[in-house]
């Protein structure tokens, strides 16, 4: 099929899904239901210690096991992912004995984990019979993660059944009408239903999983022509669920069902950052890394593997970094200092004059922030027409942020600081150009590296080393964002964007 007909078919598949909706098959799974209840009981008794303290690892492993029970439905003998995690639950639970009072809850969790690891998931047999009914060549099975895809392929591949991740389904667009997605709709990217590849979609979920909502596109709430996808739910099998004497139903336990990292006890800082400090969020990265990303900084370099060669190295705003973004980071020292050194070198004899005017306006802004405070500075700037960018005021004092993006904002800022526009603005523009040139040179080198690299490794392992070692740049790493901490921390500005070893992501896939 040519590209335009294939594209037209996507418009029709969208339309078809709006008319016919998606199917959700809720399969009775008593062993999974027992595990789920045991986890919720732990949540209830351990409420405040879930993310930290002695319960952190038990809860992390148990949630990870529950996730695998839903997304790895192959028979037990082929299911090492589930057995390994159940053993970890037991191991961390045994370390807790003696340290907590609620031993009965703990024992039930271990028993439920072991039972879940020893019982074939009813989802698996239902999947197999559904696929055989439709015809193994007429449908595709979609796994919730790369790891689940590899495991399901070990089981179903021999039968000639195609198993893909949602990303692979998008790229390969197999010529079939039906897809079976293993896991609840919310475990998948919303594009599987908002930009469907097949005109018929079924989700296979355990009956004990209550949330059957199907995601909408992020714009649907406000858009004309918004896609509203209806669901048809079928319940099959033994759906009996254990009652709980511990956690009353409707007890308001917050449980998002996704495996989560151990953040440690964290809450919003109680003081304001000092002049050389900044509010930042910890970002967990594939490969056992993390870094702190400032809330107010300039764009950060990223890699978009879906773009064609030559256009894969991109820049994204710090507020748009999400789990799944591939950041491209220099190992060792942060990169901005090296970039600015090269930029000043490009300015040659004028470098010191440019540096002097840059220092002068940043110093003066710094003083204003010190004497009248950030809120007042932002208010003053807003009054002078600096609109949404005014809350960037503190970031503009950073030596590694050349100037406000907008010409009008920069002019208004300089006027407020009572600094003549010239030569400061001209100097800032020249520095900006030099930084752009230096960054472009690095980007060209990285593009060449990425074009030559095997990007399938990125999806499999989440990170890729780019051996760019010229021009003062040490090894550069592309690594997937796994999670972003819910609370900001105060860190020294020079500590942002620096990779550090961090194992908090061990319970994520």
């Amino acid at each position: 099929m040519n590209r335009i007909d294939a594209l037209d078919q996507r418009y029709r598949a969208s339309e078809s899904l709006v008319h016919h909706g998606v199917e959700i098959v809720a399969v009775g799974d008593p062993a999974g239901a027992r595990l789920n209840q045991a986890i919720r009981d732990v949540f209830y008794v351990a409420q405040d210690d879930l993310h930290d303290g002695p319960w952190g690892n038990v809860v992390g492993a148990a949630k990870s096991l529950r996730w695998r029970r839903m997304t790895h439905p192959q028979p037990v003998m082929l299911n090492s992912a589930v057995t390994e995690m159940a053993e970890l639950v037991a191991k961390y639970a045994s370390l807790l004995h003696g340290a907590v009072e609620d031993v009965a809850v703990l024992d039930e969790l271990v028993a439920a984990a072991m039972a879940a690891a020893e019982t074939d998931s009813p989802l698996g047999s239902l999947l197999l019979s559904s696929v055989e009914e439709v015809g193994t060549n007429e449908c595709v099975v979609v796994a919730a993660s790369k790891r689940a895809q590899v495991a399901l392929t070990n089981w179903l591949g021999e039968l000639g059944i195609l198993v893909l991740t949602a990303g692979e389904l998008e790229r390969l667009q197999p010529p079939v009408d039906q897809s079976y997605l293993i896991g609840p709709p919310r475990f998948f990217r919303s594009s599987v239903v908002t930009a469907p590849v097949t005109s018929e979609i079924s989700f296979l979920i355990p009956a004990w999983f209550g949330d059957r909502t199907v995601p909408r596109s992020a714009m649907a709430r406000y858009a004309e022509g918004a896609l509203e996808i209806k669901t048809r739910v079928f319940v099959v099998g033994n759906t009996s669920e254990p009652g709980s004497a511990i956690a009353p139903s409707g007890s308001g336990i917050e449980d998002d069902f996704l495996p989560e990292p151990v953040w440690g006890r964290s809450q919003a800082p109680s003081r304001s950052p000092k002049s050389d400090e900044v509010l930042a969020h910890r970002v967990l990265l594939s490969g056992g890394w993390s870094m702190c990303l400032e809330d107010d900084g300039e764009r950060i370099r990223a890699l978009d593997p879906d773009q064609p060669p030559g256009e894969r190295i991109i820049y994204v705003g710090v507020s748009t970094v999400r789990p799944g973004t591939y950041l491209v980071l220099r190992q060792g020292e942060g990169e901005r200092s090296a970039l600015y050194r090269e930029a000043y070198a490009r300015l040659g004899a004028d470098a010191s004059a440019v540096e002097a005017t840059q220092n002068a306006w940043k110093q003066k802004l710094q003083e204003c922030l010190f004497w009248i405070g950030q809120q007042e500075v932002v208010r003053e700037l807003r009054a002078r027409g600096v609109t949404t960018a005014a809350n960037q005021a503190r970031a503009w004092t950073d030596p590694y942020l050349v100037r406000p993006t907008s010409d009008a904002d920069f002019a208004a800022l300089l006027k407020w600081l009572e600094i003549p526009a010239e030569p400061t603005a001209v100097h800032a523009n020249r520095l900006r150009r030099a930084v752009h040139q230096a960054a472009a040179a690095v980007r060209e080198r990285l593009e060449a590296e990425v074009s030559a690299a095997d990007l399938s490794q990125l999806e499999l392992t989440g990170s890729l080393s780019l051996g760019v070692a010229t021009g003062g740049f040490r090894s550069i790493l592309a690594t997937r964002v796994l999670a972003i901490s819910p609370h900001p921390e105060i860190v020294a500005r020079h500590e942002t964007r620096v990779l550090v070893v961090d194992r908090s992501a061990q319970w994520l896939e």
Binding site: I4, M219, E311, I313, R322
Partner: protein
């Protein structure tokens, strides 16, 4: 503009292979119509920035089609095909000025050296060539020229004929509006621009005509182009663009990497093309956040007079410029 004045649906077809039958689908003409509706709206409502966002199953062709629609509705172009007009204009051009000429089926951009009226017929002398005045179908003065270029003249094609652009085509090719930019993935955009747009009604009427590419309407600014109208920017390199040219009136941000620059674009019109097949939803979130914090909602149907084709979501609003 009330919906009652909405134009009938535009029927267009698209193909990448001239030998194969083209695909006729409602979204093709629909996106061309959207571009035209936006330009008509912006022509009379220029006090605030207009933002239009569409979400589509895949981004392919959408930016190019919307841009084509925009380009078909241009400011009134003066007829300029009479030799007397050309002579009159040539008399007022200073030596050393960059100019663009349409001569027969050729477009030439070059430096004007002099007008030779002693020759018969009179001639325009450029740095690299000379042209007789009666053969020159249009002439325009340029503000700048990187280097002289010569190319065959683009033709209006199926869309150009549908939009009645033939009559002023030479003048348009000599001096197209340089008011549109598309930011996106260049490799994909260039493939989209090479596709053929045709009017299936011409086929139905038994008058098969040359379809013309999307590029013939959009006239991308490429190295060596003798004439151009639409600037193309790579979203991967857009962070290194310090500021956009002041003559731009509309920017199409094609795909998530481009839409992430939305808050920095200050042109009167911004169109965001959001590809729903991409897992990253931040582009849509950025649009919604701008609408909810600074925007005044408009209706695509009632204010722009456009109905969304099946599978397309649309959102429009204005923000203070």
């Amino acid at each position: 503009m009330p919906a009652s004045t909405a134009f009938p649906a535009v029927r267009l077809a698209l193909s990448e292979d001239p030998a194969a039958p083209p695909t006729i689908a409602p979204w093709i003409g629909g996106f061309v119509a959207l571009g035209a509706r936006i330009r008509r709206y912006a022509a009379v409502n220029d006090q605030r920035q207009l933002i239009v966002a569409v979400t589509v199953p895949r981004r392919d062709f959408v930016a190019a089609l919307v841009g084509s629609g925009w380009a078909t509705v241009s400011e009134k172009i003066r007829h300029q095909t009479a030799a007397t007009d050309v002579l009159e204009i040539a008399r007022n051009i200073d030596p050393g000025t960059p100019v663009r000429l349409v001569v027969g089926n050729t477009v030439v951009s070059d430096i004007f050296e002099r007008l030779s009226e002693e020759a018969t017929p009179p001639r325009v002398c450029l740095s690299e060539s000379q042209w007789q005045i009666p053969a020159i179908r249009a002439i325009a003065v340029l503000t700048s020229l990187a280097k002289p270029a010569r190319a065959s003249k683009p033709l209006p094609g199926g869309l150009g004929r549908l939009a009645h652009l033939e009559e002023t085509w030479d003048a348009r090719i000599a001096a197209p509006a340089a008011d549109l930019a598309i930011v996106g993935t260049l490799k994909w955009l260039k493939a989209d621009l090479a596709a053929l747009l045709s009017n299936p009604d011409e086929h139905a009427a038994g008058q098969p005509r040359v379809p013309g590419t999307i590029a013939d309407i959009l006239l991308p600014d490429e190295p060596g182009a003798a004439t151009w109208s639409t600037r193309l920017y790579s979203s991967a390199r857009f962070a290194e663009v310090s500021s956009l040219p002041g003559d731009l009136r509309a920017v199409v941000l094609d795909g998530a990497p481009a839409v992430k620059y939305l808050n920095e674009i200050e042109t009167p019109v911004v169109v965001c093309v959001i590809d729903r097949s991409v897992a990253d939803e931040t582009a849509a979130e950025i649009v919604v956040q701008l609408r909810n914090t600074r925007g005044e909602a408009l209706s695509v149907r009632d204010d722009l007079g456009w109905s969304t084709p099946d599978g397309v979501e649309a959102l429009t609003f204005t923000v203070p410029l």
